[in-house]
């Protein structure tokens, strides 16, 4: 069942086409992130859902209810702002009470709900404080509580963690996600931070230049990106250009590249001779020095393994792993993660080994 339907909305400012035919179905209780660089239209989409912008065409439905022309206050939303937007002249309790008073909730009921939600965000005893007397993280939780206490049908979050420091941000990701799952509220989360979107979301909408690049689960988006730009935006990736030589199965292909023939996975229906890019994530590549590889024999990893050779041109120590840059025979550069201590040195010849199932073909 869809709790929220965004149906082909368009928005223009003068000559600028900010949103182009955006459609997103969101299920009951889902946590959906709108992810993209600034100016991609994610915030405008959120503001259309909230009612602060009105799309030029298209519809927005809350359940069965068409809210496209409704004012923000008529929509039954809860919203958390990047700036928190706590009312500075009201105490925490008064901030929380605001939406309940608008809804004419009886005083006794108000008190109980405020106490409940404060307990939920672990801020018992802070009800008499003013926002300025709270830390950034506490203000954040009050903002969350204020949006949740009215029990809205949709929770909208506009980069709520952007103003927090790194440690607190990590903590709040899990806090918000946990809270959202406990309450079971349908949530839409705007962020430009892909790591945030990955760990928090049920679904991610990757946006760029007013269109949706991809809509799917974090795993789909990471492992099966729809385009090179999505692959580049989410995590690190390597690409090697080539042509489809033959289709081996429904989603597996043999690709002819300057480094030789490579077995790869890709979307169904790629035709022979089509130009493609093979995407491989750095953590999916195994590295051996050429000498060690020669001693062990090649067939060990099974027939689906691909082996490329190259030389190490750069090595960066990153604590938990080393990041190597390897130059292939074709001239392409590939980034590889090597765990633990790194026995490989710049200039050394290496064999790169990766499974066909860890690759993904992108149309180029």
């Amino acid at each position: 069942m869809t709790a929220l339907t965004i149906d082909r909305i368009n928005k223009r400012y003068g000559n600028l086409h900010i949103l182009k035919d955006i459609s997103i179905p969101i299920g009951q209780g889902e946590f959906v992130s709108l992810l993209g660089p600034s100016g991609c239209g994610k915030t405008t989409t959120l503001r259309c859902i909230a009612g602060f912008e009105r799309p030029d065409t298209g519809r927005i439905l809350f359940g069965e209810r068409d809210v496209t022309r409704a004012l923000p206050e008529q929509r039954d939303i809860g919203m958390v702002f990047q700036s928190y937007a706590l009312f500075p002249h009201m105490t925490v309790a008064e901030n929380l009470s605001f939406g309940l008073e608008v809804r004419k909730v009886a005083p006794a009921d108000r008190q109980r709900r405020i106490a409940d939600v404060l307990a939920m965000v672990r801020l018992e005893g802070y009800d008499k404080r003013y926002p300025r007397e709270l830390s950034g993280g506490q203000q954040q939780r009050v903002a969350l509580a204020r949006a949740l206490v009215i029990e809205p049908s949709v929770l909208l979050l506009d980069e709520p963690l952007a103003n927090l420091d790194a440690t607190l941000r990590d903590e709040m990701r899990f806090f918000i996600r946990d809270l959202q799952q406990r309450v079971g509220i349908t949530s839409i989360y705007v962020t430009h931070d892909q790591a945030e979107a990955m760990v928090m979301s049920d679904k991610i909408v990757v946006m760029s230049a007013g269109t949706i690049s991809q809509f799917g689960s974090p795993r789909e988006i990471y492992e099966r990106p729809a385009s090179q730009s999505v692959a580049g935006f989410i995590g690190r990736s390597n690409t090697i250009g080539g042509k489809i030589a033959e289709a081996l199965g429904q989603d597996s292909y043999k690709v002819e590249t300057p480094c030789g023939s490579i077995g790869a996975t890709g979307p169904a229906g790629l035709s022979r001779g089509a130009d493609v890019k093979i995407m491989i994530r750095p953590e999916n590549i195994n590295t051996r020095s050429q000498a060690a590889a020669a001693g062990q024999g090649a067939g060990e990893g099974g027939h689906s393994d691909n082996v490329l050779s190259g030389s190490v041109v750069n090595s960066v120590y990153q604590g938990s792993a080393n990041q190597l840059a390897v130059k292939l025979g074709s001239g392409d550069r590939v980034i590889v993660d090597v765990n633990g201590r790194n026995p490989l040195e710049v200039g050394e010849q290496v064999a790169l080994r990766f499974a066909a199932r860890d690759t993904w073909l992108l149309a180029s």
């Binding site: 909230a50 009612g51 206050e73 939303i77 700036s83 009312f87 500075p88 605001f98 608008v102 949006a147």
Partner: protein, 295 residues
């Protein structure tokens, strides 16, 4: 470690010492020709009157006691305060919508509208009051217009009374309330109003519960400014107040320039200033309650 700390401190101290000359001319000007002169108002008000010189030999409180026993002066003081309060209230009622509109305005005309607000401030008082004389006189523009549409048969008395002074002063000092309010309203994050609406509050409720309370500092600053300016205004009541709209400033200048009664005039000026200070003090205490929750 202490040596490392000490080095920049010595340097900054020597910098400070060598920079003091920069502020000396301004301090000389403002102490020598602003602070000290204010003390002479007080001493002047305590001098004895004299018919042969500006003031006599001794000191006396007589100017205060006789002024405070004079019903005529009480009347003028009352009128001055009434005009000041009326101008302040009307200025707030007219100025708030303009400031609100200007703060929200995103159009390319905003800059022109800002000029509309600023220009009355920069056009001289005499010129602006003169413009109001053209409008408010017996055969002035206002009466012409009212007679043309048939609302009145005979000209209304719009000038030479408190009404004319109040109208003109409202115009003259309106920018002084718009500008502090504008600064205040622009400093309020638009997110707060959006948060309020997202919580279900209508635009009206959002205004009363969020925007208005947060703009109290601007209201306070602007109203005090307008009140002080309008009770001390001289040009406007002098030009179009006549005897019916005479205020304290006009009376003081009359004492000083026409009657050459400097000590008595000084006492009146101090009474005027003291009353202003008392009223502003009371007002501050009143508004402080409305603002105690603000950061």
């Amino acid at each position: 470690m202490s040596a490392v700390e000490a080095a920049p401190r010595i340097e900054s101290r020597s910098n400070r010492g060598s920079a003091t000359w920069m502020v000396v001319p301004a301090l000389v000007l403002l102490i020598g020709f602003f602070a000290l002169p204010y003390l002479t108002i007080i001493t002047m008000s305590l001098r004895e009157a004299s018919t042969r010189a500006v003031y006599g030999e001794g000191f006396t409180l007589a100017h205060y006691t006789s002024a405070l026993r004079d019903f005529y002066i009480w009347g003028i003081l009352g009128r001055t305060l009434l005009i000041g309060a009326t101008v302040t209230v009307i200025s707030l009622l007219l100025g708030y919508p303009v400031a609100y509109h200007l703060a929200k305005s995103r159009s390319r005309w905003t800059s022109l509208l800002y000029i509309f607000v600023l220009s009355p401030l920069l056009v001289g008082l005499v010129v602006r009051t003169f413009a109001w004389m053209i409008i408010l006189s017996n055969n002035g523009v206002a009466n012409q217009a009212l007679q043309a549409v048939g609302l009145i048969d005979f000209p209304l008395q719009l000038m030479n009374n408190s009404l004319g002074v109040t109208i003109a002063l409202t115009h003259v000092f309106l920018p002084f309330i718009i500008l502090p309010l504008l600064g205040n309203l622009q400093a309020i994050s638009p997110d707060l109003a959006m948060a309020s609406r997202s919580l279900g509050a209508s635009r009206m409720r959002t205004f009363w519960k969020v925007t208005l309370p947060l703009s109290m500092p601007g209201i306070q600053a602007g109203t005090i400014l307008v009140f002080v300016l309008s009770i001390s205004a001289y040009v406007t009541p002098a030009m179009l107040g006549g005897t019916g709209g005479r205020t304290m400033s006009v009376l003081v200048v009359q004492y000083l320039v026409d009657n050459f009664r400097w000590p008595a005039g000084a006492a009146l000026a101090i009474i005027m200033a003291a009353v202003a200070v008392i009223f502003v003090g009371l007002y501050l205490r009143l508004t402080a309650r409305a603002m105690r929750r603000l950061p």
